[in-house]
Structure formats: C-alpha cells, structure tokens
Symmetry: C2
Subunit: 358 residues, 2 copies
Amino acid sequence: MIPMKRLLPFLLALLAVGTFSLDAQERVRWKLAMTWGPTLSPFVDAVEEMASMVEEMSGGNFVIRIDASNKHKSPFGVYDMVKAGQYEMGHSASYYYKGKNIAFQPLTTMPFGMTAPEQYAWFYYGGGMELMEEAFRPEGLLAYPGGNTGNQMGGWFRTEINGLEDLEGLKMRIPGFAGDVFSELGVTVTNIPPGELYTSLERGTIDALEWVGPGMDIKMGFHKIAPYYYTGWHEPATELLYLVNEDEFNDLPENYQAMLVAAMKLSSYNMYAENYHMSAVAWREMAEEFPNIEVRTFPEEVIAAMKEANEELIAEAKQESPLFAKILESQEEYMEGVRAWTKISDYDYLTDNLEPED
Amino acid sequence: MIPMKRLLPFLLALLAVGTFSLDAQERVRWKLAMTWGPTLSPFVDAVEEMASMVEEMSGGNFVIRIDASNKHKSPFGVYDMVKAGQYEMGHSASYYYKGKNIAFQPLTTMPFGMTAPEQYAWFYYGGGMELMEEAFRPEGLLAYPGGNTGNQMGGWFRTEINGLEDLEGLKMRIPGFAGDVFSELGVTVTNIPPGELYTSLERGTIDALEWVGPGMDIKMGFHKIAPYYYTGWHEPATELLYLVNEDEFNDLPENYQAMLVAAMKLSSYNMYAENYHMSAVAWREMAEEFPNIEVRTFPEEVIAAMKEANEELIAEAKQESPLFAKILESQEEYMEGVRAWTKISDYDYLTDNLEPED
C-alpha cells in the first residue's frame, strides 16, 4: 500500500496532463501513388512538399508515404487505385482519364483556353472547384488542383512543320483533347507514360512529342533527336491533380483534413512558380548551350485548322456529356470577362515592357 | 486511504492518456494589426482566411484575433507595433515603410518591374525570400508575401493627361517609388490611408489618386469624381506583406510555426486569384454600368519621362542603400531571363487569342 499523500501530487500531475489530451494528435499513415517517376521535378517536388508540410503541421503524426510509378508499376492506374482505396490519395492529371469521363479534360486545361492566372481565378472564385466536385464526387473521389505547368510548349518534332501536309501520318505523343485535335489533322496520336518518352522517340515509335516546357524538357534530352521546338497552343495552363479517396478523407480528424487541403493547394501554387522559374532559367540557357534547337511557331494555316477542329470536337463532346457542356460553358463565359482584363492589365503592360530596362 | 487495487486501473488509464499528451496542443492567442479597415476585400479576406486556416489546422487551439485600422487607429503604424511586440503580427505593404528603409520598396513591386507570376517565381525560387529576410530580420521581424493585387491600374484623374504639362502641380495620392517618379515629373505626391481616399478626392485635398484596380476601385466610387481611368505602369505586381515578430514566432511550437507559414503563403496566392477574379468581373460590368468612365493610357512622352525618372531614382537609391542595390540587381538579372520566357509562353499565346472563341 502506498500512502495517499505520496500518491496525490503524482495523480494531480497526471490529471493535468490528461486535460490536454483532449487535443491529442491521432497517428495516421497514408500512401500516395504518383503517375510520375521518383525524380520528376517539379511534379514530384510539389507532392513531396505537400507531404512534408502535412507532417510538420501535424507534429509528425500524419505521415504520407509517396510511391512513384517505378514502385506501383501503373502510371495511369492512379485513378483506379485511389478509387479502390488501394492508395488513400494520388497525384496525376485529370485529362489522362478523359476516356472514363470527357468532363475530366477541361479540369486540366483546354486548347486555346485560359492561362494559369485566369484559370486559378476560375477554379477558386469563378465556380471551377464546384464543377470539379461535380465531376469527381460521384466516383467517391475528392479532387484538388495539383500544380500548374503554366503555358506548355507545342512539342518537339524531327522535321519542320511548314503546313498541314507535314502533319499527315506523323506519329506523336500528345495526350488529352489536344491529341484529338491533332488526330483530326491526320496525326497518329498516342499517350505514353513520362518514363518512356525518350526511348519511344529514339526508337521511332513516335516522330514527335509534346511534354511540358523548357524547364522539364531539356533534362529529358528530346532536343538531341527532335530539334524543332514549337510554341504552345494546346495546354495554356495544365493543372495537375490531387485525388483523395472520399471515405478515407472523411475518416481523418477535422484538423488533419484542413492541413491536407491547405498543403495540397499551397504545393500546387508553388509548383506553378517553380516551373515558371525552371522554364525561365532553361529558356535562357537553351540559346547558349543548345544552339541546334530551332524554335518555331506553327504556320497560320495549321493554327486555323487546329482552332476549327477544336471547336468541332468541343461541340461533339458537349452533345455527348452534359457535364462537359456545363464545364465548357462555364469556362467560355468566364473567359469572355477575364481575357479582357488580362489584356488591359498584364498584356498591354508587357507590350510596352517586353525588353526589361538595363 | 484508498486500496491500491482500486487505484491501479485509474492510474493506468491516466498513464495511457499521458502518453498521448506528448502531442498535446498548446493554446495560443495572437493579435494581428491590419493597415486596412475591417471590410476591405480582398485584402481582409486574405487575412481572415489565413487566421481561419490556422484555427482549423490547430483544432481551435491557435487563434489569431484581427484588429482593423478603426480599432488600433494607426494604419501605417503596423510595422512599429509588430516590431515592439504590441501585436504578434501584422498585414500591410512593405513600400509604405520605404522611409525607414528604401530596400523595403522592391519587396512590394517596382515601376516597370515584374508581373505577378514572374515575381512569385523570383520570391520562392529566384532568391527573393532570402533578400526579404535580409531586409527584415535585422529588425526582429519575419516577412512573408501577403497577397498580390496583380497589375494595378494607373489611377483616377479629374482631367485628361495629354502631356507632361498636365502633371505639373497636380496633387496625387500615389505611394512608394511610383510616387517619387511622379514627384520628379512635377506632381505633388502624398500617401493617404485607404479609409480616407474618397473624402480626400471629394474635398479636393488631392486631384488624382491610384488605388488598386477595377475590382477594388469601383466600390470606392472614385469614378463619380474623377472619370479618367489610366492603365498601369507603376505597380505591375503589388505584393502585400505579413509581418511577424520574430521572438513571438520562435516561442510557437514548431507545428504551429509550420501552420502559420503555410496559411500566410496560401492566403497570399489566393488573394492574387481573388483580385484577378474581382477585377475581371468589375471590368466587364464597368463598360455597361459606368459608361462615363474614360479608360486612357498615358501618352508616350509621359511614359518615356516616367521610365527616365525611374532609372535615375533607382541609380540614386542604389548609391544610398547597398541592400536596395542588391535587391534591384537580383530583380534586374532575374527579369533578363524570366521576361523572355513570359514573352514566348503567355504573351505570344495571348497575342493569338485576345478574343476568346465563342
């Protein structure tokens, strides 16, 4: 028997500590599957930053393990694996799954669509997030912006494209709606996981490909095989995607939900800034270090044919999917207003300041 | 005396709870002082969103009370109050304090400087945050981006500016470096707290003012008195500022520090998107609802004189402050690369797509 007066201080100390324990942090371990390989910067940087923010904010209690495509072996299976709960969350791009639902396409980007600042305004203040939810929630999935690449370059070609006839029969890796547009123009279109791009181009499985922009492309070495580098039209603001299994999300404590959402959103914006930076640096180096790269813009007749095919395909997809129609109409209506603002603000300003002062 | 065998289960339960208590959440109450009044959207939205994210992520344990300028009565005293620890943190703009240190100016924006996407790339990936730290940490302050307005309009004028002679003797509210530039051009320049702008214009204390852009300006009613609305040159990417007292920050638990930093950064990016949205909406409505507003661009001779005065003032300030020189050189060097990328990506794309498709 221990005398009560010796026990009491110890007991009181324990009680005091116990009062705080109402706020105790639950230990949570999650797994995330990426479409990308383990070192694909800045896509992977965004995911790693997101996970490390969550870990820090939770005092080390909410830990997200990241599996790259070399681990799970299914780059385009991320959607299904998260839906099935095999992974609690994933990082990919919604337009990779347009075969499942064409309405996923405009939640990434659209040919001749919005720029990144316009699109973030639409997502968060112009009704975009609500439409994203309408597309993904019936699948038991929560979806969030996963990082913007900014305006993508039009891709690498072995030969120059001087007119529509040069596209005929070309084999090209180009995903999403832009691939359908090129397909209408006679291109044989395919999507290939990021990890196999260089080999496919080298072996002649494809004659051309688009990837992202100088920041990411140069490191892939495409310019060694396909020196014609075209400016962009097809992905003016490619937004990657975080997918979260809804049931798993609902099982999280509310404060962990808040941390996860904040970390996803912040890492996405940061990726936009990081890729802008990487592209600027690479664009500058390119001119000096890789003088064999020939920067080109598609000829007017090609651009005109792309726009026409794009409009036709949009009209068809609107017929096919009421949700695609609803999302496109929201974006078209939004662009009517936002593009005029972009013109009077950044565009007109840049026109007078294309060469920064020394 | 209580028998040990009756105490034991109770004691063990307390011990189990005690184990969790290592992760217990400390209750923290902070106060934030804003330069703005209590309803100034989107500036105040950013601050409120930041505070509410911190509160949610901490499970209600870290609460930040927000005091607007009508409470603390010192809109431009935010810097001093945070430095003194009277408030743990503040929300303002660094260029309001350029009288204390001219190096604070380019951490907000510079006339003829970077656009918002360029500037975020510089802040987070191009060395900007390190320079911000170099400017503020010696003052015992931590500084973070506090929300970007995007490209600001050049302001509201009672009369049209057809040449340099129309600026002579004009009384204008325009803060920061741009004010110094206008001062060189013969304008009598002043800064006035946001809450007093309309009255000052109405009473003729000033003849002209710049505030932000259509999203915020229209609600202020300036167009009723000064119908000439000029496009921007002077604040291409005004970044507001979160100031945090360093000692107070260091006293926070590490996970609260992480929450606070994440919430500040996320709310800043969000404010950029929100103001882009508000501006787009207001710009569209303006044409229909306020046909008396006359949108103008400053004449070429005025722009040329502004650029010249700006370059001279930059050269002087570089002499005066080695840190200003270091920051400006970093920005100038950065712009050399990033502006070329902006041109080949968004700018050239927009040139072909100024009128969105129907």
